[in-house]
Symmetry: C2
Subunit: 355 residues, 2 copies
């Protein structure tokens, strides 16, 4: 299939992301199912830049065209290829009752209702810290997962960066022994501490920059951590140096989201090796599309894209991530020291700008 | 907590499986929720031998006693410890609509109904090949997952060992290009080929022993594989040598179940390293309790246990496994040759007999 090979070469050359012909097939399958760019990303679960450049290639060979509203439309030529190669329409196999997470949180419904009230006045997401928070259902599904796995009741939980406000979600259940938040954004630190005070929660937020060493009394001190890390390998390495350092030892667990949108499977592979080989962690769960992020308001302006199909207002929560749970299988000794690091941007990041 | 430490030492010494105090906590939490041995395993998701020896230890220190029917009952001393240490009752956070899988298969309901008819006359599970098949809902959820992930429609699927009859489930949807089964048990080979003939399916089963090299025309020949491997590291290494060899290359995918019942997290860790480092595979999904196995009829007789709490008829489908999906990120070259290997039994296997 020369089209697929041509697309791989073009996209790889443009994005420097390692991809294969099946990635292109998945994007074609998504284009066979929607005309909305952000939904193509959601359905194909391929990196933003890979989807964008694949579409640019498909436009250049007259498989796809765009209309004046930025919709993506398959041409006759495109449709013929798709039909000849048996590329399917994406059908919906996701359980609508739990949004595909497999988890329900009716047991902690009261806390959830309170949470929805509290977060109404949350600070806006800002680009400086790569924020973009999850839905309230996501937050409570994550808490339910932690309870189910034995990682919350009576445990000390540490939250690294909390634009999602899962610390408040956790503390409202009254189940953890204690919840600590480390967060760089003073607005969030204040918001969380204010909520803790008002609602009498065993919860404390502290201003903290990941690059700094972990406060000494937080080393080997927690049962469970949660984090939504930036997705460069450098940042992941730094984040897990901190998070793993905070755990008491073997049997302790960590929760975090990882996307397919800013992290290719090659990057997943590299990152998983880091978890297993460097940090003595085993992966116990990966649940796709568990975390649903609310569309953040700085997206389109900061993209500065000249492509009409990119410059369309998203009409769904297209940005999702897989929920990982890891568990330490052996204690691990990690140096607790300052580490410098460019946190947020690599060539797979949405906000990466070509020179 | 000396009790937990004592339990870890005792169990580790008895089973030679690496465990930690949180494993014991999880078993205590399960004992706080049911008095049925097989449900303790299901709720704690710890290896059979670890659960059995933990209970033996707890009986020896008068935390647990058994009644004449083999029920497990917490003593006052046990209850006090559980309360003092904030060890919770296990509550149900699993979505009942999809049985926690996140996947529904209504799109392929017709094939499912046909499947239920066909499997009524399936051969019985036998101990010789470590059989024990999944429920029909499991089989169709697995097929739905493959479709959702783009791994079935128009693809060549290979099934390694098929007491689950997922090959028939897949072929009945008419979605794959072709389905091939490699299976050691002639009864199953005949059953599958008979079903293929009767229902006009693009499906063929072939007698095959894993230790033999893969038939040459199956090397680098398939888009997708599925397998329910035996869970010794040696067997896993062998199985994945065969399954990965059958895949065309990068972007191709594999599906398999792995339990917590016959594989500790230390074994998971070792196995995951194998997948990542040796086979160039990335793990894209791990969905807990996805695969539900029907209670196999040879269980209690082959256990030959003298423990009353073990010798009780299971009253639930307690044997479950996590669904893994992996994807090749790079092509990998594997020698295709005969490999000798003791497939089924190690010290974590249910049927392992102490000397």
């Amino acid at each position: 299939m020369d089209v697929l090979k041509g697309a791989v070469d073009f996209v790889q050359n443009k994005t420097k992301v390692e991809i294969n012909q099946r990635d292109i097939e998945k994007i074609l399958s998504a284009l066979n199912s929607t005309n909305h760019f952000w939904e193509v990303i959601f359905l194909s679960q391929k990196p933003f830049a890979v989807v964008r450049e694949t579409i640019n290639y498909l436009i250049s060979i007259d498989f796809v065209k765009t209309d004046e509203s930025g919709n993506l439309i398959l041409t006759e030529k495109g449709k013929e290829f798709i039909s000849a190669n048996n590329i399917p329409v994406v059908k919906n196999y996701t359980c609508s009752y739990c949004e595909g997470r497999g988890i329900v949180f009716s047991e902690i419904k009261d806390a959830y209702e309170k949470f929805k009230e509290i977060v109404k006045t949350r600070p806006d997401a800002i680009v400086e810290y790569d924020q973009g928070y999850v839905t309230e259902e996501t937050a409570y599904s994550r808490i339910a997962l932690m309870i189910k796995k034995g990682d919350l009741v009576g445990k000390r939980l540490i939250v690294f960066g909390d634009d999602d406000l899962v610390s408040i979600a956790a503390a409202l259940t009254k189940l953890p022994k204690e919840v600590i938040v480390l967060e760089i954004d003073k607005r969030l630190v204040d918001f969380i501490n204010q909520a803790a005070k008002e609602h009498n929660l065993n919860l404390k937020a502290i201003e903290y920059d990941f690059r700094n060493k972990l406060p000494d009394d937080f080393v080997k001190s927690f049962d469970t951590f949660t984090i939504d890390p930036p997705e460069t390998i450098e940042a992941l390495d730094l984040c897990f140096t901190r998070t793993i350092s905070s755990l008491k030892g073997a049997g302790c667990a960590g929760y975090f989201g990882l996307t397919n949108i800013e992290a290719s499977l090659s990057k997943w592979h590299e990152f998983q090796k880091l978890l297993l080989n460097k940090f003595n962690a085993v992966i116990t769960d990966i649940i796709e599309n568990f975390n649903h992020y609310v569309n953040w308001n700085y997206l389109l302006p900061s993209l500065e894209s000249s492509l009409t199909f990119v410059n369309v207002q998203p009409k769904l929560n297209w940005y999702t991530s897989s929920m990982y749970r890891i568990e330490l299988v052996k204690d691990v000794d990690i140096k607790n020291e300052y580490i410098n690091c460019e946190l947020y941007i690599d060539k797979e990041a949405i906000l990466y700008k070509e020179n």
